[in-house]
């Protein structure tokens, strides 16, 4: 039987109740049945790591090896990397990664490989312009701390600011509602997540017909934020969770040039 060339992707559950673990293995088996060359386990939501997570990853690795399918962790947070290193499991999960498979367009040129994971940046803030400006300043300090090149840090700051401003403008948040933001460097670049309890708004569904001169002639003052966000990131994923939260995940990949 010919193998499929595409990768299967599955998220590692954050909370490992019985149902979640069973569901994970069920989906994992389904992926294996499709005989992909590669299965990617998305670890981006793992904010804490327990021995159960490690057991689950180890079991997934064993199953994939039995089926001769490559397994790769995507967006592993610093805490997971540290635990895997501490348990000497690094060589099984964190080596031999095919980073050159990642698209480098608009990526971070010159970002050094991640050798010393820095803690995740997490903030919660109200959607007003002063607060967003203050948070941008805090985020800027964090980006300096993780040692990103100036241009890449500038783009990430811009993406943070524009996305926050977009949420503030479109999500119609109620008094007291806050935007949750997490970010971290990953092995492949940089990962950011916005969560807000506002009305559904999927920025990925907005088509961009941006023409600079036409924008000027038409005295266009708005809509440039989405252009910046899309041009300054490599991937944007939107999800409406529990019919209550907007979850927006933006990634910027390390350029391999």
């Amino acid at each position: 039987m010919n193998k499929c060339v595409q990768a299967g992707v599955l998220a590692v559950p954050v909370e490992l109740e019985t149902g979640a673990v069973e569901g994970f293995y069920r989906e994992f088996d389904l992926l294996l049945d499709g005989s992909p060359e590669l299965i990617e386990l998305d670890c981006s939501n793992l904010e804490h790591v327990t021995s159960s997570h490690i057991n689950l990853l180890w079991e997934a690795l064993s199953l994939s090896r039995e089926a001769s399918v490559r397994l790769r962790l995507t967006s592993p947070p610093g805490v997971l990397i540290r635990v895997l290193k501490a348990l000497d499991l690094e060589e099984f999960f964190l080596t031999g990664r095919d980073d050159d498979e990642y698209d480098g367009s608009s990526g971070c040129v010159g970002v050094p490989e991640l050798t010393d994971p820095v803690e995740q940046f997490e903030i919660s803030f109200s959607p007003d312009t002063d607060e967003i400006s203050r948070m941008r300043s805090d985020f800027k300090d964090y980006l300096r701390q993780v040692g990103l090149p100036d241009k890449c840090a500038l783009e990430l700051q811009s993406v943070f600011y524009e996305t926050s401003a977009n949420i503030a403008e479109h999500a119609q948040l109620a008094d007291g509602d806050r935007i949750e933001f997490s970010a971290r460097r990953t092995e492949t670049g940089f990962w950011m997540r916005f969560v807000d309890p506002g009305r559904p708004f999927d920025p990925t569904s907005v088509s961009l017909d941006y023409m600079p001169e036409a924008a000027a002639v038409n005295r266009r003052r708005r809509g440039l934020g989405l252009v910046m966000i899309k041009r300054m990131t490599n991937d944007i994923k939107y999800e409406r969770r529990d019919n209550r939260y907007n979850v927006l995940i933006l990634t910027k990949t390390r350029n391999q040039r």
Partner: protein
């Protein structure tokens, strides 16, 4: 945080220099639009925006300038940016605006572009 005041200076009849400060974002973009509009309405259509202090510009900040350029040009003037840092220039590059906007090195060059003789 952004500066709340945009500094204005009349350097010649019809030429005004604006300095928005360290940031031009959602906090002061509206103010920028108002200042540029009132300057144009007063018949001063050559406007130099001196970005010597600017560290950050948002899309709203870019929009506040972009949406006003044609008004000046139609009246025979222009909006000229100067002292643009690498960071601000990068945003303009990302938005493909470098060819469209008039960007000069410094105030002197900008003033000459606006017809003010050197010296």
């Amino acid at each position: 945080m952004s500066d709340s005041q945009i500094r204005q200076e009349l350097i010649d009849d019809g030429v005004v220099v604006l300095n928005p400060g360290r940031t031009l974002d959602n906090n002061n973009a509206h103010e920028m639009v108002e200042v540029i509009s009132s300057t144009q309405e007063a018949g001063r259509n050559n406007i130099i925006i001196d970005m010597c202090d600017m560290e950050f510009i948002s899309s709203a900040g870019v929009g506040s300038i972009l949406g006003s350029v044609e008004t000046s040009r139609e009246a025979g003037g222009d909006i000229v940016l100067c002292n643009v840092s690498d960071a601000i220039m990068h945003v303009l590059v990302v938005l493909d605006l470098v060819d469209y906007l008039t960007i000069k090195t410094d105030r002197q060059q900008s003033a000459e572009f606006c017809g003010i003789p050197r010296g």
